[in-house]
Each structure stands twice: as structure tokens, then as C-alpha cells.
Amino acid sequence: MNPVTIATNTDLQWKDSLTTESSLVRWVLIGTAFLYLTLFLFVPLVAIFTEALKHGLSSYVDSFLNDDALAAIRLTLLVAAVAVPLNALFGVAAAWAIAKFEFVGKQALITLIDMPLAVSPVISGLIYVLLFGAQSWLGPWLAEHDIKIIFALPGIVLATIFVTVPFVARELIPLMQSQGREEEEAAITLGASGWQTFTRVTLPNIKWSLLYGVILCNARAMGEFGAVSVVSGHIRGLTNTMPLHVEILYNEYNAVAAFGVASLLTLLAIVTLSAKALIERKTVSLNRQNIHV
């Protein structure tokens, strides 16, 4: 959808009596929406922090300031630090090829890039176990050379990359397609190099969507549970990411600590949603300026 139409349509006020409902219907609908959102969104959100703070602030802080939790936080940051830049690079490259050129099979490629989103996280982990596990045909060779992929860091990184591959590409492809290629063609014709054209013409046009794609990719990378659970082996202090640590604590009936670590992941989710709202506002106001010029 074209962002420009969002900007103009949100300005419309639906107050015209010809096309709006009686105030009774209106408040019933708003009430229904709020009830549903309360049950499924507001109550869970409040519950996470209430459970985490049940035994006071100091035991809350203790829940993530201990060796196991800190190791989990470090591992999660490390995995995201590898997965997110690689997928951002992939997203930019894919969007450049798809948006700036016409070639056979383009539509199929766009559909293909979304494929990991349709795959169950458990299967995303399973395929790497089949490829690199001890029972696979690569297994004996890997064991011989003492290379650990499954139940080790590389497996966790691979599964995370798989799950988050499409996020940056999905943000950039429709945007760059709608922007066309005239500005870049002008820059090249005027003698700019390909790299100069990208950094000075394309990048300023896509920076907000790129940033949002990266934030979304990061949130998913840090929060991934199913795929990582299959390949991790759940070794405490070694291959436990934050979501896996939450699971272990919860299964040990240590609810306060589980919700303590969970609250950090929830804060990450809230930051992600706020960033989305801010970036949306930013791009809408940019478009509005363009309309007025």
C-alpha cells in the first residue's frame, strides 16, 4: 500500500452523520474491542511485571544478575550480533536486485523470500539437525574434525538466521519498488559510482524502513524459542539463550526468576513497538511534506 494514502486518510474525520453509526453502536464496538484486547493483551502485559516483582525489587534484580542469566543474555546478544547484520545485508542486496532490475523469475523470488515465515520454528531447527547432527552424513566428518554445530553456537546462529531471513527484505522490497529507479539512473548518468549512488541516493531514501526492518529482525532473533530449542541442547551457561533460560526457570517452578528474565524480553518488545510507531509517524510526516511541496 502507498504510504501517501495513509497520510491523507488519517486526516479524514468520520463525523459525517451520513456515514457513521449511532453513538450506542459506536460505544458497543469500542467496548468489545477493548474487552478483547484487555483479555489478550493488557492483562498479560501487566501480569509479566507483576509476577516478576512479586517478591520485591531486589529479588527481581537478582533474577537476571546471576551467572546463568548473564551467560544467557550474553549468548542472546552474540547470536543477534551475527544474525542481524547478515540478514540486513541480504535484505539490502535482495531489494536492490528486485526493485532496480527487471528479470525473469522475480515474482517467484519475492514469494520464496517469505517462505521461512511459513515454516514452523520446530522444523526450522529440525532441518539443521538433519544436516549437521551426529546421525547426518556430515556428522562423522564433523566429529572427526572436532567441529560442533548442533548443540553449540553455530547451530543456534544458523537457526536464528533462518527464522529471521525475510524481515529486512520484506520492509525494503515494496518501498524500493514504489520509489522506482529514476534517481539512481540520474546519479549514474551524472558520473557517480555504484557505491556512491547507493550511499548518497538510495540509502537516504530507505533509511527509516531499513532501521525498522533491523529492529524487527533483532526482536525476533533475540526472542526466537522453538528453532533454537531444537538445536541448542539446553546446556546451562553455555547454549542457553534468554528464551530458553526462561523455559528452564519456569519448569523448575522458579516463576519469579522466569518472569524476571521474561520482563527484559518484554521491554525489548515494547521498545520495538515504540520504534515502529515513531518511524511510521516519521515517514508519514515526510510524505506529507512531499505533498505540500
Partner: protein, 278 residues
């Protein structure tokens, strides 16, 4: 790179970016995924069929697909109401609600899982009021439905919302001027416009729910034949080193997901074709 497959352009970097895209995507996604089918092909058709039709597997499909479908329809109804309210009405806190709708996307599934479990357990904030009514949610199939409804919540809202925003108000005014009441206008003018988006949203919520693992396993109770979803059954088989079993069930799920994804693509193509005609 066969250049005749590409239209000429003055812009550089086609070979480099497309080459990297295809190389990276093949390495990370296509080759590992095809391994699933290669592994399954080592089984005979009969072996495969016996694995994927055990009573335990069939019970897990019924729960996974059934709960996903019901959850998607619940979201179809309430998601449409939420989208309508967000686009058409102004009320305090609207922008916060709008932003929060995406929470199930952004919240890690394990966090959603433990939270829903503690709320809907018999001593939880909501569960304690359902218990006297004889309704048990946590550790029953109903818990699976709650989790799958939660994670599907944003899809319908986010597909219906832009269509409602784009809807031409003059058409509604015309209907009213021609004597239709609000209810008739809604059914005869607005609903036909929303159909493709609504169906797309429901299909997306369904697709997401079918594969879901993290938010379900805590609340489900995970009793074989009763409250065990297919992804968990795959996980259980993996933990027992039953790779043939895990892989066969994985293929069933993957093929189903692709069929649903194809349907979503057709629905989107249908809705954009309708837009073009106008």
C-alpha cells in the same frame, strides 16, 4: 548470469546483488529445507504413511489444525471490530492501542506462553473466575486455543485496517442518499470490499498458528492424544532420536504450510486485482 533473461539497465550491481541473494538464500534456506525431503525419500511410501497416520499423530493434527482454525475465526471477528474501531472512531488511547496490537508479533513466544499459563491457571487472574464456572483453560485443549488466538491477533487487524482506510467514503454517502440504512450500507457496500483482506488475514493467522510451538507448550498440558500439538510431537520424536518419525511429520506440516501460503498469495492477488478494476 544469462543476460538475455534480464532487461538492460544503466544501474550497476545486478550480478553482485542477485548472486549474493541467491547464494545466501540457497545456503540458509533452500538446501537445508530440501534435506527434509531427501531424508523422507529414504523411507518407503508405506513406512511414511504408517508414521504419519498413527492415532497419536492424527490426534495432534486434529488439535493443531482445529484450534488454529477456530482461533483464526475468532480473530476474524474481533480483529475486524478492532480494525473498524481504530480507523473510524476517535477515543482516548487510540494510538497506544494501535501500537499494542502488534505485541504478539514482538513478544517472544516463550514469554507469551508462561504469561498466558499463569493468567489462565486455576489460581490465575482470569482462570480463578472461570474455575467456578467449570471452565478449565490451562493444561487442556482450550489452553491451546487461547495461545493460538493470542499469537494470531495482529493479522486480521493489519490486513483489514488499510482497506478500511482506503475505502471511499463517497460510496457510503451515495448508498445512504439512495435510501439505504446504515446496516444495509454496511453489508452491501462495506463488507464486499473487506472480504479479500479479511480472508487473507484469517489465512495468515491460521498459517502462523499451525506452526506455533513456544506459546503453546506451556499452557497445553501436552498429554498425548489429548492436548499434544504436532510441533511438540516432532520435538518429542527428535528427543527420542526418532529422526524418521520427526522428519515425516515435518514434511506433513511443511506441505500443509506451503498450501496455505499459496492460498494466501492467491487471495492477495485476488484483492489487488479487484483494486485495479476500480
Amino acid at each position: 548470469m544469462n543476460l538475455s533473461l534480464k532487461q538492460p539497465s544503466v544501474l550497476p550491481g545486478f550480478g553482485l546483488t542477485l548472486g549474493f541473494t541467491l547464494f545466501y538464500f540457497s545456503l540458509i534456506v533452500l538446501i537445508p529445507l530440501s534435506g527434509l525431503f531427501v531424508k523422507t525419500s529414504s523411507l518407503s511410501w508405506e513406512q511414511f504413511w504408517n508414521i504419519v497416520t498413527t492415532p497419536r499423530a492424527i490426534a495432534s493434527y486434529q488439535l493443531t489444525f482445529g484450534a488454529s482454525l477456530v482461533g483464526a475465526f475468532i480473530n476474524g471477528i474481533f480483529g475486524s471490530i478492532i480494525a473498524w474501531v481504530l480507523v473510524r472512531y476517535h477515543f482516548p488511547g487510540r494510538s497506544v492501542v494501535d501500537a499494542l496490537v502488534d505485541l504478539p508479533f514482538a513478544l517472544p513466544t516463550a514469554v507469551a506462553g508462561i504469561t498466558l499459563t499463569s493468567i489462565y491457571a486455576s489460581n490465575g487472574w482470569i482462570g480463578r473466575y472461570l474455575e467456578p464456572l467449570g471452565i478449565k483453560v490451562a493444561f487442556t485443549p482450550l489452553g491451546v486455543l487461547v495461545a493460538l488466538t493470542f499469537i494470531g491477533l495482529p493479522f486480521v487487524v493489519r490486513t483489514v485496517q488499510p482497506v478500511l482506510q482506503d475505502l471511499d467514503r463517497e460510496v457510503e454517502e451515495a448508498a445512504t442518499t439512495l435510501g439505504a440504512n446504515r446496516w444495509q450500507t454496511f453489508w452491501a457496500v462495506i463488507v464486499p470490499e473487506l472480504w479479500p483482506a479479511l480472508l487473507t488475514g484469517i489465512a495468515m493467522a491460521f498459517a502462523r498458528a499451525v506452526g506455533e510451538y513456544g506459546s503453546v507448550i506451556f499452557i497445553a498440558g501436552n498429554m498425548p492424544l489429548k492436548s499434544e500439538i504436532t510441533p511438540l510431537l516432532i520435538m518429542t520424536k527428535l528427543e527420542q532420536y526418532d529422526y524418521a518419525g520427526a522428519t515425516s511429520l515435518g514434511v506433513v506440516m511443511l506441505v500443509t504450510s506451503f498450501v496455505v501460503a499459496l492460498m494466501i498469495n492467491l487471495l492477495q492477488w485476488w484483492s489487488s486485482a479487484r483494486h485495479m478494476n476500480q
